[in-house]
Symmetry: D2
Subunit: 332 residues, 4 copies
């Protein structure tokens, strides 16, 4: 961390701030220039409050040189992390499509969809059992019964299963779940992240509605700081002023994330756009931009889906998207 002192700061003032910094456990390297004094803070600067330091009377500006995240940082872990889900791999050149209905609604629905998509390109099966809904009056999911149906569908098709957790107390029910999803609204539910850090489960961490890439990586850091290194990041659109799409899909996040961290990143074009007919172009664009996978909503009967039907593809449409993605991937 670098702090530049204002012109005309006295020696006493400078020493006072240096002492204060040293008391916070960092070494301070002083460069006295003709025009200004620059303090280089060395050591564990993660505890230094950048805004507070910048607000001091005698400080002109502060700049954090190193990122506040460590375990997720590619600098200290140059190779891509490859997540292995019972032989199905994501990251480091391995690409997977996670597909399935927004909500698990019935055995018939889930198993029907699963059997179709496993033949046409899906590597993992998704389905919501515990559903976060904006309104308390909306369908909240089949809960434990939904998890049981997912396990059944897994047995039937061999596809590993992905489903969202909303409460760390539910963890015992997730024993047979292969990948536990943290939804956008819980990206900064730090208590949940800490609990997931103590498990050995694979975590799919969605980006929050309006969170920066840095905050997203800090949330991944929460999980890794607990000892769990099996994390897949998922870009799902951010909130902007544009209303033709539900969110604005930030595909630039893909090359940025690949530069900053070794963790794999997948993209969810269904939630990002909220419109079924925009899923195909955004899915192939995500693949072209270098994503490690996709998460796509598929429903056998979108107009009767209990949630998010507007963005669901039919199994036939899914097959078409998966094929187009495959073609694009073959040339990049």
């Amino acid at each position: 961390m670098i702090a530049v002192l204002k012109n005309g700061v006295t020696k006493e003032q400078a020493e006072s701030v240096i002492l204060w910094l040293k008391n916070q456990g960092v070494d301070v390297h002083v460069s006295e220039g003709k025009y200004q004094t620059v303090l280089g803070l060395i050591g564990d600067t993660r505890r230094i409050d950048e805004e507070l330091l910048g607000s001091l009377e005698i400080v002109e500006t502060v700049k954090r040189v190193s990122e506040p995240y460590k375990s997720v940082n590619r600098k200290f872990h140059p190779d891509d992390t490859i997540i292995d889900i019972g032989g199905i791999k994501i990251g480091g050149g391995n690409f997977q499509i996670i597909a399935g209905p927004c909500s698990v609604e019935s055995r018939e629905q889930l198993c029907g969809i699963a059997q179709e998509i496993c033949k046409t390109g899906a590597g993992l099966l998704r389905g919501g059992a515990f559903k976060p809904r904006t309104s308390p009056y909306d369908f909240q999911g089949l809960k434990v019964e939904g998890l049981d149906l997912l396990v059944e569908a897994k047995k039937l098709t061999g596809m590993p299963i992905v489903t969202e957790i909303m409460n760390a107390n539910h963890l015992p029910y997730f024993e047979n779940v292969d990948v536990i999803q943290v939804g956008a609204r819980n990206m900064q539910n730090f208590e949940l992240l800490k609990e997931l850090g103590k498990t050995d489960k694979i975590i799919l961490l969605k980006r929050g509605l309006a969170n920066t890439i840095k905050e997203w990586l800090m949330s991944a850091e929460y999980i890794m700081a607990g000892g769990n290194e099996k994390i897949i990041l998922c870009e799902r659109g951010i909130r902007t002023y544009e209303t033709y799409t539900r969110n604005t899909l930030d595909l630039s996040a893909i090359p940025v994330i690949k530069e900053l961290t070794h963790l794999p990143i997948i993209v969810d074009p269904s939630h990002a756009t909220g419109v079924a007919r925009y899923v195909k172009p955004m899915a192939i664009a995500a693949a072209a931009a270098g994503a490690d996978g996709l998460m796509i909503e598929v429903h056998n009967d979108p107009s009767n889906a209990l949630c998010d039907g507007a963005q669901s593809l039919t199994p036939a449409q899914f097959a078409d998207v998966a094929q187009a993605v495959e073609k694009v991937r073959s040339v990049i």
Copy 2:
């Protein structure tokens, strides 16, 4: 809810969508015009997926006429809700300032601040015991020990106490807390909201980082749907592209909220701006705009605060702000 069908829709197509809507439990009133057919949906339209309906081939547009929230809606509860915290009232013309340090750090710190501010305008004492921090390496609060110190400070000064909860499992520790705060990052932690809805505690619900007013009211609805009607809303700035302030304080939310709901609304200028010297103008502006109260960070030694020191006022600065607020309130 109103759905307008496209020009040229056949009678069969119209009947098919009407049947589908009726199967979802609503009555449909059809107005056949020369140019278009308008469907008026009557009954419990909360279950109808607006986006899905709008995405159907034959539907031109959909508009929800009534708000999806009910208990928080002023239409069904025209009088202001007044929250009574052991005789200290907020709402319906009653104004309170909640003040105190961002984090509880020690008995000395907390009690010292509490004794000063209770003489200069603070009606309630705030202090964080469980702290949500972006980084896992930042100070996470004194936790239960912090709650004990808050109770001590309450005994000493008589001020009711306000502190944040991050995990419903911690509820037993909050027995002696007067007002439980839900932080911005947990505004859509629906599992937490549901649990708080089952308690009889007063809840201070902060607006999320990038949440709409409608989503905020839906989160309040989650709590009220559980039976707990004691909610105070708190505007604390929203995320925009501007960086001179930490967030953009949305004071227009005050008159909007007062129109839509009967619940009281207070404003937190400290977190909104992130800069101590902007707290005073924003505090008096909030009071002028009709807020029912304020939440202000005060620290005896901001430059050594363990968190958010850059935005904390000293007790003397707080006294000045409280006095200025009082003056403005006396004329509106």
Copy 3:
């Protein structure tokens, strides 16, 4: 346009608003339901102020059914518009890359770059002569001299030229320019748009910094309303809270634009990301999402470029990007 009246509105109140609407030149079709009265406004509703109507005491809600743009609307012009620039075509399946330096700096620089890129995939040459800069102290372009150099480079290579206009008074200088660019900051400079509508020049209309797709199409409508139908739209990233990239490239705008209008859309990944190493993934993603072309900054010596060097590719890097884009296009 549909207006829904509030419950309990009297016959007299309803008649008064209907009369007022008719005075504004529209027909009103009334559907009296058991619970509410719906007014269908027919005719030229473009003159009706949607916000004002919605703010009337007795009106519950208003919804515009038809889009406020007409000439750019695909409904009235189902086929793709193909822009023909001296034989070089954009739109309707024709794809072009526009490339060149941000600013024209010298004959050597411009002609050098032009000769390289015309061999490796660029169909048109771009270069700024009149430069919009945030600071009055930044390099403002070579102006007319820059235009002359562009014409020279065109003679040398045969590539049509694209350059930005900032002032309608400069139009006489643009006689030999093939495509006139309207920059993001001038997207709602309506006086400029009107003047361009009177010319027969091809216009490249960039999306404004924080403009909606609807506003963008209304700006295109300004040009078309003047009689000029030769417009190419260019997505160049929108302003959000994220700071790792200069703007957030909104690739979902591609399928949305293709649905709403017949005009071609190209993408500028250089300005969108502001970072040279993110240009390649975003260029191929844009092509995959269905863009009709790309606009890419190329400089022979990015570190000495007079503007926007951070986002410029070298000619060798450009050749690599163009080849990758070609490969992706071959499979979609």
Copy 4:
């Protein structure tokens, strides 16, 4: 400007970047630390491209220490600028309300409104003659005829007049206009700003739809760089994702602007909220936050206004707002 080089940079690499910087006309002061080398750039660093420097292979980070604006900077002009409009003063403790209709529609309308508001608190008269409208089909203003009517109203009431310019070619028509407004959509129309910088007219510069405070000050700098120092800034709401209000009024901009520049700042609550009933609370909040004035839309018959009727007050409502503002100002 400070540039921090990466760890492990060789002496040769450092010297190469230093030479390159010196060639761009700045002095470089080198501080070689044990862990990193810090370059302090001295002199006219406004020409250095911060993003480009930061993108160089061997540079870790770059931070601009001084603001890129000079004439508008309070550092070099500590006293408040007071704008004197024929004896009516704004800034430095002087507060004014500018009021009037969105558009000038007729002599009767304008003079009627003017005569009422000049008795109840308005110091200046506003009215649009040249109107920027999103749609080419909307009313575009009475143009020169409108300017003539404004001059008439000024003669009648003595109030100085404020009206918007959209095209520098129209300047000759503005001879009798006291304050020339630059609208939000033209805030970065640099050609217009340059022309206004050459005049001796008072300029009211509105903040752009989604522009940062820094960009806003840079636009003021454009005008001042031309020699015209008579500028009033006007905050009018910024674009966010919230839709209950047309824009989000950023009142925190008031204390920020007062800190950064000596220019006066006024607030337009009418355009910011877009809703007449929110104008009063936001007007008094702006006054409380320290604004130097207000700009408020008033119409004798809002429901028949040719533009923006939804946000206009009646003269009686205006009198009430002006009185409330006066009361708040008396205590701050």
